[in-house]
């Protein structure tokens, strides 16, 4: 008699176990397409004879998960850098560099050559002045484009920092639930999934490293070593700056009081979107601006009017600036000069000036006049301007574009600098995208769900369930037969 009851109890236990396993399988199947879901494994262990207990395990691979986090954050930074550079390059240099300072400078040289072949023709002088105006416009527009780009990057950094703080807040909830649940021994799989998903999002913003303490308590550090989360989220602060000028230097992002390092190089060493945005705002935007500023300074110097007798100091000629008529100091960067360079009104017929001053000199008074007799076909001064553009001059090393070279080469080198970096960024973005995809796929293979496997397990469970049910039915029949006999 007692053995029949035992058999019934075992069969009931088996039914319960099968039911629980089925629920895990069905959960796995329903989450098959969720990339943040980690496959649950029902671990069945025998306790007393015939009795089974089920514990839920997650298919985790901590190392691969970390690899994937790093790959994701490196890819995010690289992609941010590449996208930003593509936008910036188009805004400043135009499609295929048509509106770049280098191209405009070439047009000015051409116009000077044409004018010098027939200096008596006032229209050709006007044409040269118009070419100069286009060049000024390219520099002014380039400065505006760079600065509004920097402002845009700044506001994106602000958004990303808010996102990060928000994610850290959610991370705290998940982490607390895990710590409590682990301590009390309950199933915290869902909370673990949620925490991993949050960590993925955090690492796409900033490069992180993590370690786990007792009771599954996780600590997040940035790659630089600043603490991002430890029991409670640490504050990430950033003071956004709405309006940028060439002299504005952007504010840093502080993680727990430590400034977050910006990335460097075309194949950037940055991890996470924020470091990429910082690099775009400061390194890329800043260097490009200082190169434009140096081109502007070179132009003012190359077209400066000289005193033919050599006593008076050279003064600003065709191109002038806010500090004019003095010319800027040699070899020293003047921040924001590309934004303030302008066409000298004395040469501009639209502003009541005279383009033939370009041929004769003397915009700064008769002492600066080279063509003293007013000869109509005087071309020496025009030649000297073209020559100045091709003669080596000193540039500030801060523009990281060479220190002694001609203005003409400096302007094309600036394009080389930018496109070299963009090309590196593109190649690196491809490589990092491939790595991120690869690690994500491996991780998905290790921790994801295979529906076919789950279905076949479901078949097994169905059979087990049927068998257990049949046993219960049989025992029921046996018991009924016994009771019928007694009746």
């Amino acid at each position: 008699m007692s053995s029949l009851t035992t058999a019934l109890a075992i069969a009931q236990s088996a039914l319960r176990t099968t039911g629980k396993q089925t629920s895990i399988v069905s959960r796995n199947i329903s989450e098959a397409q969720n990339p943040d879901y980690t496959r649950r494994i029902a671990a069945v262990s025998s306790t007393a004879p015939g009795a089974r207990s089920i514990s839920v395990q997650r298919a985790v691979d901590a190392l691969l998960f970390k690899n994937n986090l790093n790959a994701q954050s490196a890819f995010q930074a690289q992609q941010t850098l590449y996208d930003g550079m593509e936008r910036l390059g188009l805004a400043v240099n135009g499609v295929e560099n048509v509106s770049s300072a280098a191209t405009m400078l070439g047009k000015l040289q051409e116009a000077l050559q044409t004018y010098s072949s027939a200096p008596s023709n006032r229209n050709l002088g006007q044409n040269a002045v118009e070419a100069a105006r286009d060049l000024v416009r390219s520099l002014n527009d380039g400065t505006n484009a760079i600065q509004s780009f920097r402002g845009d990057m700044d506001s994106q950094i602000g958004i990303a920092v808010n996102q990060l703080n928000d994610l850290l807040g959610q991370f705290k909830d998940a982490n607390t639930e895990i710590v409590k649940g682990t301590h009390s021994g309950s199933d915290v799989s869902d909370a673990l999934d949620r925490r991993d998903a949050l960590l993925k999002q955090i690492s796409s913003l900033v490069s992180v490293s993590t370690f786990t303490r007792t009771d599954n308590d996780m600590v997040i550090m940035t790659a630089d070593g600043a603490t991002l989360f430890e029991t409670v989220p640490r504050s990430v602060t950033f003071n956004p700056n709405a309006i940028y000028s060439a002299t504005t230097s952007g504010n840093a992002v502080y993680v727990d009081g430590v400034p977050l390092a910006a990335g460097a190089g075309g194949n950037t060493n940055a991890g996470g979107k924020i470091a990429g945005l910082l690099q775009l705002r400061d390194e890329v935007g800043g260097t490009m601006q200082s190169q434009l500023d140096e081109i502007a300074r070179g132009l003012i110097t190359a077209f400066a009017e000289t005193d033919p007798s050599g006593t008076l100091a050279p003064q600003a000629g065709l191109f002038t600036w806010s500090g004019g008529p003095a010319i800027p100091a040699s070899g020293t960067l003047v921040s924001g000069l590309a934004g303030t360079i302008s066409l000298n009104a004395a040469f501009d017929s639209a502003a009541g000036g005279d383009p033939s001053l370009l041929r004769d000199g003397g915009a700064n008074g008769v002492a600066y006049k080279h063509n003293t007799t007013g000869a109509a076909s005087y071309s020496d001064l025009l030649f000297s301007y073209s020559k100045n553009l091709d003669a080596p001059m000193a540039f500030d090393p801060a523009a990281s574009n060479g220190t002694t070279l001609s203005l003409s080469s400096f302007s094309t080198n600036a394009i080389s600098w930018f496109e070299g970096m963009r090309s590196n960024a593109s190649t690196a973005a491809d490589a990092k995208a491939a790595l991120a995809t690869q690690t994500a796929e491996s991780l998905s293979n290790l921790t994801g769900v295979n529906v076919d496997t789950e279905m076949s397990m479901l078949l097994d469970l169905e059979n087990a369930y049927e068998a257990s049910a049949r046993i219960i039915q049989t025992i029921n029949d046996m018991l009924r037969a016994l009771l019928d006999a007694v009746r």
């Binding site: 400078l105 051409e110 044409t114 076909s377 094309t412 070299g420 994801g448 529906v451």
Partner: protein, 349 residues
């Protein structure tokens, strides 16, 4: 055999990334096949992009110089024509003077020839080309030679004043008949020569500058591409024609006229030599300009070839790439569809 676990999500996403890459490659290849150039110059050349920009810029500058050299060349050949005309006029005038001095022609013929020589001297040297006076040096917006025939013109006034000062009466005065050959000689060497060959020329006869038009004929080479009306040979022609004209339009004695003519003949001889020299120099510069243009055209070809080497792609290769990518993408579509069909669920009833 060990089989590795594969998740359903990985299976369904396996082709997604490579498909994306292939599609972006396809748009690039299609663009390259149609344009024959790399689709994104900056990405293809990287740090060499500046080189390509500088090449195309220099190419445009060189083409500009070829155009401006055309201008210089035509100025030079117009100058050559003008110099030939000057030589012809000089030779004709000289033969008239020589036959006239041996009594072969009348004084009226000599006078008429002096006048026509002066006129053609004026009209040739005042030739304008492309809105610029050809022989004006760099002062190309002012007629280089004043008209001696005009009594109020500065050169005529200066000559008449000098004559009156030296002899005490104007050339039209009847006393001119009393001027001796020696007196005339003295006048010619001490007064007239400085006026034409010395400082008296500039401003009274000529408004031209000594400095000619300088043209840049290659990226780093300049040449003087005009001839100034201040050249000694031209001055001597003017002197010969003007003195003969004055001598034959007044009633001077034959002796005085003879002195003027012999002076004039020697001046004209020097003019012919000097103009031939100018013509040779002009020819040399013409040649330099032509050579520079030829060199630049070679450079232009070379630069164009360089640019093509740097930026060009083989359109056939690009077209082949397009069709390959199309095939691959189609295969990938078919595979994706097949893989989506693969599910155990379909076989469970």
């Amino acid at each position: 055999m060990k089989s590795t676990f594969v998740s359903t999500a990985a299976v369904s996403q396996a082709l997604r990334y490579s498909l994306l890459r292939m599609q972006s490659d396809l748009t690039k290849a299609a663009k390259e096949a149609t344009t024959g150039r790399v689709s994104d110059l900056g990405l293809a050349l990287g740090a060499r992009t500046g080189y390509s920009v500088s090449l195309s810029r220099d190419l445009d500058r060189l083409k500009g110089i070829v155009d401006t050299n055309e201008l210089a060349s035509s100025r030079l050949s117009t100058t050559q024509d003008a110099l030939t005309q000057i030589t012809t006029a000089t030779k004709n005038f000289m033969s008239t003077l020589i036959t006239g001095s041996s009594g072969g022609t009348t004084a009226a013929v000599v006078l008429a020839d002096a006048e026509s020589t002066l006129k053609s001297f004026n009209s040739v040297l005042n030739t304008s080309f492309n809105g610029e006076y050809l022989f004006a040096g760099i002062n190309t917006d002012v007629e280089p030679i004043n008209d001696f025939m005009d009594p109020s013109s500065p050169n005529r006034v200066a000559f008449d004043t000098a004559f009156s000062t030296y002899f005490g009466f104007p050339s039209s005065d009847p006393q001119a008949a009393n001027i001796t050959a020696a007196q005339m000689d003295g006048f010619l060497t001490t007064v007239v020569e400085p006026q034409f060959l010395g400082a008296g020329w500039q401003g009274t006869w000529s408004n031209a500058t000594d400095e000619g038009i300088t043209s840049r004929i290659s990226l780093n080479e300049t040449a003087e591409t005009s001839v100034s009306a201040n050249e000694q040979g031209l001055r001597k022609l003017a002197m010969a024609a003007a003195t003969v004209y004055v001598a034959y339009s007044s009633n001077m004695s034959d002796a005085a006229r003879q002195s003027v003519v012999s002076h004039a003949v020697s001046m004209l001889g020097e003019t012919i030599a000097n103009v031939a020299d100018l013509s040779a120099k002009t020819g040399i510069i013409e040649n330099r300009v032509t050579n520079a243009t030829d060199r630049i055209k070679l450079q232009v070809d070379l630069f164009q070839k360089n640019i093509l080497d740097i930026e060009g792609v083989d359109p056939y290769e690009a077209a082949t790439r397009v069709s390959q990518l199309q095939q691959q993408i189609e295969t990938s579509y078919a595979l994706t569809a097949r893989m989506q069909q693969l599910s155990l669920v379909k076989y469970l009833t």
